[in-house]
Symmetry: C2
Subunit: 303 residues, 2 copies
């Protein structure tokens, strides 16, 4: 593997370029060792893979042409082989994205999963703890498990949004994500109230006005989310639940009912602390940076 | 720490004495390096701690007076401090059992939790895998999580039996254990059928005769268990679910409905394989042995 000009194997890099490929946008930037985002840009995600590679190459050239590069994507990923197994929003299946990126950029690329990457970034620079359940709730809903200081799992690990839970509105089952993601909450509100809404944030605002449709959407989401998180907490023990993604911006409007719902489902001593993540909407991009730094450091140790 | 006569720090022991302190019985034996139980005995658990220590001392003297000793107990345990935090069936709270045993036996004792110990024994000598969810279902219901080849957690970790799930018979919540443990299944059957039953095994036998009360007890237990295991699998990924304890003896009568219930709750690719543990009713005792061997090996490496 070729050493990069400003980061010989034995010196940890001072900056990396980090790219978070999401379903609708790519968030990219240059990130310093202390987690500071020193430059950033957001571009639409090209639907075609070749166009995506071109966009990433251009972005990397603009942000830091000689820095190590980290890329994370949404969807099911196998970090070991560098493959996106499945990404519904991007229309990918079994895409060897790490190899394709390495070829397009002409240099090694550290590659990972957006949620597990964000958990690593929270560990390095944010609200992370050596044992935690990181739960970003945005367009989608997945978690990352940190055990003994390491982010664990790959592939289907953490995909709680895909669990089929009892449909709150009838017989049958629905994916948890359809009810309990930020998008699910907004959709449910819009369907009940008969009017569109600007995301879950507006639904949370309407809670303050005692809007019954907002109350229904949030209560239903929190109840089903708490069923899953209570089971997860019972398995892992009451490790901190660190809430991220768009929904975490609701603060106590979300944390308080979630804590109460967990309290109904677990013995008092087994209720996990629930807090918000620190890194916000750029957590995925910082996750790509954290993976790039970790990869460069591992390469340095091996050299 | 004094070396034991037949196991100097640098030589792994060939045998250990293993003691599994359960709510009603103590299972003890001498166990060889390959996991063979070369002698065994079962005695009632004395309700008083002083009597228990005497019973363990006597048992160890009979089984292998010079072997390293491992002890596991039911209840919430903190392996690091060697304390039983809480054991309802034994009436213990914050009992420094490892120190008390060390004092009573006049030698170091490796100490652990019965379920996590049994998972370690399955890893060493049974059906264990580097990543798995070990689910023994007997009088109680708790799990052990194995991640990257190590049994993880302490204290409240794994206590899924204590999760408060919706009461299948009315409003309110009940502990999962009350419905989904082997004891819970037998109790539910007895209450519905109006006649006593000899444990969950008899309920499973009655299933074959299309007994509707047996069907209700097993179906209700499996459904609630599957809710929790589906959530756990979504968090951990589809790692093998290894079923142990008395209920696992039901074989396909339990495995088939559990697989079906998981299939209803998870995407096809995310359904974990479900199989039975290999070590059976002595898994806890073998767990104490596995902990004793692991402790002796770690001591050997450190020396």
């Amino acid at each position: 593997m070729a050493d990069l000009p400003d980061s010989p194997a034995h010196t940890p890099p001072q900056h990396v370029v980090a790219v978070d490929v999401g379903g609708t946008t790519i968030k990219a930037g240059r990130v310093a060792r202390d987690g500071t985002l020193t430059s950033s840009r957001t571009i639409p995600t090209p639907p075609d893979v070749a166009d995506l590679l071109t966009a990433v190459r251009r972005t990397v050239a603009e942000c830091g042409p000689t820095d190590p590069v980290g890329v994370v994507t949404a969807g099911l990923t196998d970090e070991r082989s560098g493959t996106v197994l499945q990404a519904a929003n991007l229309g990918w299946r079994d895409l060897p994205l790490r190899d394709r990126l390495t070829e397009a950029l002409g240099r090694p690329v550290a590659f990972g999963h957006d949620v597990r990457g964000a958990a690593l970034a929270e560990l390095r620079w944010g609200a992370g703890e050596p044992d935690m359940l990181f739960v970003p709730i945005g367009t989608g809903l997945a978690v990352a498990v940190v055990v003994d200081g390491e982010v664990r799992g790959t592939g289907w690990s953490g995909e709680i949004g895909q669990v089929l839970v009892p449909d709150p509105d009838g017989p049958g089952r629905v994916r948890l994500e359809e009810i309990a993601s930020a998008r699910g909450i907004a959709r449910r509100y819009a369907a009940r109230a008969g009017c569109p809404v600007d995301g879950s944030r507006e639904v949370l605002r309407k809670l303050e006005d005692c809007d019954t449709d907002a109350l229904d959407a949030v209560t239903t989401a929190v109840a089903l989310l708490a069923d899953t998180l209570a089971a997860a907490s019972a398995v892992l023990g009451p490790v901190p639940v660190v809430l991220g993604g768009g929904l975490a911006e609701g603060g106590e409007a979300v944390l308080a009912p979630l804590r109460a719902a967990l309290g109904e489902r677990l013995p008092a001593e087994a209720v996990p602390p629930v807090r918000t993540a620190r890194l916000g909407r750029w957590a995925g991009c910082l996750g790509a940076a954290a993976i790039a730094f970790a990869t460069a450091e591992a390469r340095g140790r091996a050299a």
